[in-house]
């Protein structure tokens, strides 16, 4: 499946804004990303959110990801 | 520190306490008498959360020395309801959702009561200016004004 990352992360993905990974859930996706693009590791360790078909998830590893899902990585967020 | 002996009435009850000369009436109420309904939001008279009446006048208890309360009559939020009967303003604030966090509420109720005792039929503008010294950060004041006006209506028709 395709994972969209935000612009500034592309410095660590050879300039690519959309990455191809094989994953069935959020955790697998993060592990894959960290393995394929070690430059993303620090950000992943600081925390990321995941938008799945438009819905934002904060650190939920086992959120299932379908093959046709729209997957967008977002920074971990806090509110007020 | 040379402490000062004070004999006053609070909400109609005789009370005696000692306090330090620099101690505010607010600190005396809260720390010596256990009346924590008046809140300290600023300690400088800018927020009104500590509003009480002193001989019938609305004041910030943070700007009154405890020592000055000698022989005075103090009214606080704790004296507003009669036993289990809420004052119409108190009920109106609940009914109109005129409080969110509620920390400014005791001061606003004491202030609003003082207003309606002097002016039972204020305009919205009069209510807003009377309460200008009572900061509320949650509500945007809208529901507070409605609640005061509704209570005023009820009190006029009572």
């Amino acid at each position: 499946m395709k994972v969209k990352i935000w612009g500034s992360l592309s410095a660590f993905t050879d300039g690519r804004g959309e990455l191809e990974v094989e994953a069935e859930n959020f955790k697998q996706l993060l592990d894959q990303l960290a393995e394929q693009y070690p430059g993303l590791k620090p950000q992943i360790e600081r925390g990321v959110s995941l938008a799945l078909d438009g819905w934002i998830y904060r650190e939920a590893w086992f959120t299932p990801i379908g093959p046709d899902s729209e997957v967008v990585l977002m920074p971990y967020m806090q509110g007020g | 520190m040379k402490t000062v002996h004070v004999a006053a009435t609070i909400n109609g009850d005789p009370v005696e306490f000692v306090c330090e000369p620099h101690e505010s009436l607010l600190d005396a109420l809260r720390n010596r008498l256990g009346l924590t309904g008046a809140k300290e939001g600023c300690g400088t008279g800018d927020c009104g959360a500590c509003s009480v009446t002193l001989n019938g006048r609305l004041v910030c208890s943070c700007l009154v020395l405890g020592a000055e309360a000698d022989k005075a009559a103090i009214g606080t939020i704790e004296g507003m309801a009669e036993a289990d009967r809420l004052h119409p303003l108190q009920q109106s604030f609940i009914d109109h959702a005129a409080l969110q966090c509620g920390v400014c509420t005791p001061g606003i109720l004491v202030a609003a009561k003082a207003l309606l005792e002097r002016n039972p039929d204020p305009t919205d503008t009069e209510v807003r200016y009377w309460l200008a010294g009572n900061l509320c950060r949650c509500t945007g004041y809208d529901k507070i004004i409605q609640a005061v006006q509704d209570a005023a209506r009820q009190m006029r028709h009572a």
């Binding site: - | 300690g43 108190q90 809208d142 004004i145």
Partner: protein, 748 residues
């Protein structure tokens, strides 16, 4: 069950306006806030703060303070360890400076003594030797290569090289061909903006009472938006196990994001540990302003291209934020939120955070979004003015809607922006005539809204009442809304439910009350806990009736046989089932623990009419209307309250509120006298229009509503004022001298 099914149900309790459970306590002065409790043998804690904006702490001599009769403990950073986790270390260092004081008001030592007066006297006996360092408080100045470095070595790997060491992080979002987009535009406007730091301005100063014994067990009472977070952070800082620290959240006198972290709690615990007695710390208002979280201060460039008919062709924002003396990622959220209201083919937002000698930022209602959206909405309005287009029509023409690829990446599902704009267009306010010197402004606003970790226990009492235990402090009436959802789901009266906020030992972890998450997430957990209890009640009834569990269903507060085949049994009410629960298998309770998702974004539109006094620059807000999609308003009065309160805070931000630093790097206005929050006479009525476009992620359609309302006022007020004076304003706050200057510059 399908939690995303669009709900068309007719509600009985949800949507009504019952009295809040804490109402009587709060109108009689009985409710207990942070500073309202005492303990036997309690000491007063006070904190010594740096008068320097930036200084090396060469030495701290506490001996004279310790010698003062009545002083029981004095602590400095030496009394704390050094946490490995960087963000925890930042929190600790913010609570007690280690090596360097990083801003005016930074804590350097603390005292516990028998009275506040003795503690205050002791503070004056602590000798701190400082070596003042050059300081920087201005966001743009902090970017300069030769700017004083606030903290070295804090730059993240994502910052492109060649900038000041103060720059801690960089982010970029967006999609499309920007240059191509701008080439298609008939008009391009490019403007720079600044926004001052503001404070949440909660009326209750931070306060806590800590009691720690020599056995390492501790109790902490404090006003916080999240007792579990207080527990994790304090346990981490003090090297305790979480189970040994029980944190109880007091009633909270306002938070708005500012009480999502700790300032005095670890200090009170450390003092109590050292003194062996309970310690209470209550901040003064001066301390609140100098040492607790203001917002970021910002400098923003926005460039937008538009066709003559009002279609945006390209949009770009460059956001420079400073979250004070510690790294801060609020700019990430600003950069993501900036263009969220628009359906754009080419959009990019870039963000940098830079360190300054200011207090550590704490979140404030939709953190990062109001500033970015203010700048964007100002430029959109200027384009509308320049092209002679109706600003509401232009928003509608470009509005994000279902299927829009958002500027921050994900594709929107059902969202309420178009409906909200249509409602504003149809409202009498939009067409109301204006007098001379008056003008109208509007702005859109947006917030993401969060879910998060949540636990709820729901106990069915034998008398047929229900006790809900949840773990999020109630900052605006959430206990009422949660009781309503429990009553709705169970089919009982609101009055039969009481919701309480648990201490950290009574329930599993709950994320802080932030991100407009409570009514959504805790409500969702409550509904699921109620369904859990319903399942158990149906199972009991199945046993009583001697039929299959599947043959019993729940409706309107009763267990009923599922159909004629199940048998002919008179329905059993919750009260009847509860009354015999001991005989049928024991107490009945429902639970739900989860990491909630599906919060659903929130949009709002604000209309504002102003009149500007052209001789003094004074602005009067004449009329104000808030339109917002609440998904489903559980307790409409408290939804309106959020909309009105957020609008008032935004109006304050627009007109008068600001952190003012002198050339000496010291805060000039640490009090409500000169930090000017709106007073009652400053504001008109704030009208509200609630739209209900159900959130597909919640069984009742609920969306968070708390944060979005602070976003639009900044630009709504600014756009109205710019139109009133005939000159575009580009800095907040728009204080009268600023306005008069703009008027004079425009040759008025």
């Amino acid at each position: 069950m399908n939690m995303r099914a669009k709900s068309e149900r007719a509600f009985k309790v949800v949507g009504t306006r019952p009295p809040r459970p804490d109402g009587v306590d709060k109108v009689t002065g009985r409710a207990l806030y942070g500073a309202d409790v005492s303990a036997p043998g309690m000491l007063a804690g006070r904190i010594l703060r740096s008068p320097h904006p930036h200084a090396e702490i060469l030495s701290i001599d506490t001996s004279a303070a310790e010698a003062l009769p009545g002083v029981k403990a004095v602590i400095t950073s030496a009394d704390f360890g050094l946490p490995e986790d960087e963000s925890l270390r930042d929190i600790q260092d913010n609570c007690m400076a280690r090596g360097k004081a990083l801003y005016d008001g930074h804590a350097v030592a603390a005292v516990a003594a028998v009275s506040p007066a003795v503690a205050g006297a002791a503070l004056k006996l602590i000798k701190v030797e400082y070596r003042p360092l050059p300081h920087v408080t201005d966001v743009d100045a902090a970017f300069a290569k030769d700017a004083p470095v606030v903290q070295a070595g804090r730059t993240l790997e994502n910052v492109p090289p060649g900038v000041s060491e103060n720059v801690t992080s960089f982010c970029e979002f967006g999609h499309g061909d920007l240059a191509g987009g701008f080439a298609k535009a008939d008009r391009i406007v490019s403007r720079s903006f600044t926004t001052a730091a503001t404070h949440q301005g909660y009326i209750e100063p931070h306060a806590c009472l800590a009691s720690m014994g020599s056995d390492g067990k501790a109790d902490l009472w404090c006003c916080t938006q999240g007792q579990y977070n207080v527990r994790s952070v304090c346990a981490g800082i003090l090297g305790m196990e979480a189970s040994q620290l029980k944190v109880t959240a007091s009633e909270i006198g306002g938070g708005f994001g500012g009480k999502t972290t700790v300032f005095i709690e670890p200090v009170a615990l450390a003092l109590s540990r050292k003194a062996g007695r309970p310690v209470k710390i209550v901040m003064t208002r001066d301390e609140v302003f100098r040492a607790t979280g203001p917002t970021v201060t910002t400098s923003i460039d926005v460039k937008i291209g538009m066709t003559a008919t009002g279609r945006i062709t390209a949009a770009e924002a460059k956001l420079r934020y400073s979250g004070g003396a510690f790294p801060c990622v609020t700019v990430d959220m600003g950069a993501q939120a900036a263009f969220a209201a628009y359906d754009l083919e080419a959009v990019r937002s870039l963000g940098w955070n830079v360190l300054t000698n200011r207090p550590k930022e704490a979140p404030y209602r939709a953190p990062g979004a109001p500033q970015a959206i203010y700048a964007v909405e100002s430029v959109v309005d200027e384009l509308c003015e320049a092209l002679g287009l109706d600003p509401l029509e232009v928003r509608l023409k470009n509005a994000a809607r279902k299927g829009t690829k958002s500027s921050y990446g994900p594709t929107f599902d059902d969202i309420g922006l178009v409906a909200t704009l249509e409602a504003a267009k149809a409202h009498p306010h939009y067409a109301a005539p204006l007098g001379p010197g008056q003008a109208r402004g509007l702005s859109c606003g947006f917030w993401f809204n969060f879910g998060g970790n949540t636990c709820v226990s729901l106990n069915i009492n034998t008398d047929g009442t229900v006790s809900v235990t949840e773990g999020n402090p109630d900052i605006g009436g959430s206990r009422a809304a949660i009781s309503q959802m429990a009553a709705e789901e169970l089919g009982i009266a609101y009055e039969k439910v009481r919701t309480v906020v648990a201490d950290t030992s009574s329930l599993g972890h709950n994320d802080v009350t932030d991100g407009s998450r409570v009514t959504f997430s805790v409500g969702l957990a409550t509904i699921k806990a109620a369904r859990d209890a319903i399942g158990k009640m149906c199972a009991r009834v199945a046993k009583i009736w001697g039929i299959d569990e599947d043959a019993v269903f729940w409706e309107g507060g009763y267990a009923k046989p599922a159909g004629p085949n199940a048998g002919d049994f008179p329905p059993m009410s919750l009260a009847e089932i509860a009354a015999i629960s001991f005989q049928t298998g024991g107490p009945i309770a429902g639970h739900h623990e989860f990491n909630a998702d599906g919060a659903g974004v929130s949009f709002g539109v604000h209309l504002c009419d102003v009149e500007v006094d052209r001789e003094t620059g004074a602005t009067k807000i004449l009329r104000y209307t808030v339109f917002q999609d609440a998904g489903k308003a559980v307790h409409p009065a408290y939804v309106e309250g959020q909309m009105q309160g957020g609008a008032a805070q935004g109006i304050g931000w627009a007109l008068n509120e600001e952190y003012i630093y002198g050339a000496d790097g010291r805060l000039q206005n640490p009090g409500f006298l000169d930090y000017r929050v709106p007073v009652a006479s400053d504001l008109p009525r704030i009208e509200t229009v609630i739209l209900e476009i159900p959130n597909p992620g919640h069984p009742y359609g609920v969306r968070g509503v708390g944060e979005t309302p602070i976003v639009p006022p900044l630009a709504a007020v600014s756009n109205a004022m710019s139109r009133a004076i005939g000159a575009r304003l580009n800095r907040l706050p728009m204080s009268p001298p600023t306005v008069l200057k703009a008027l004079n510059a425009a040759g008025a």
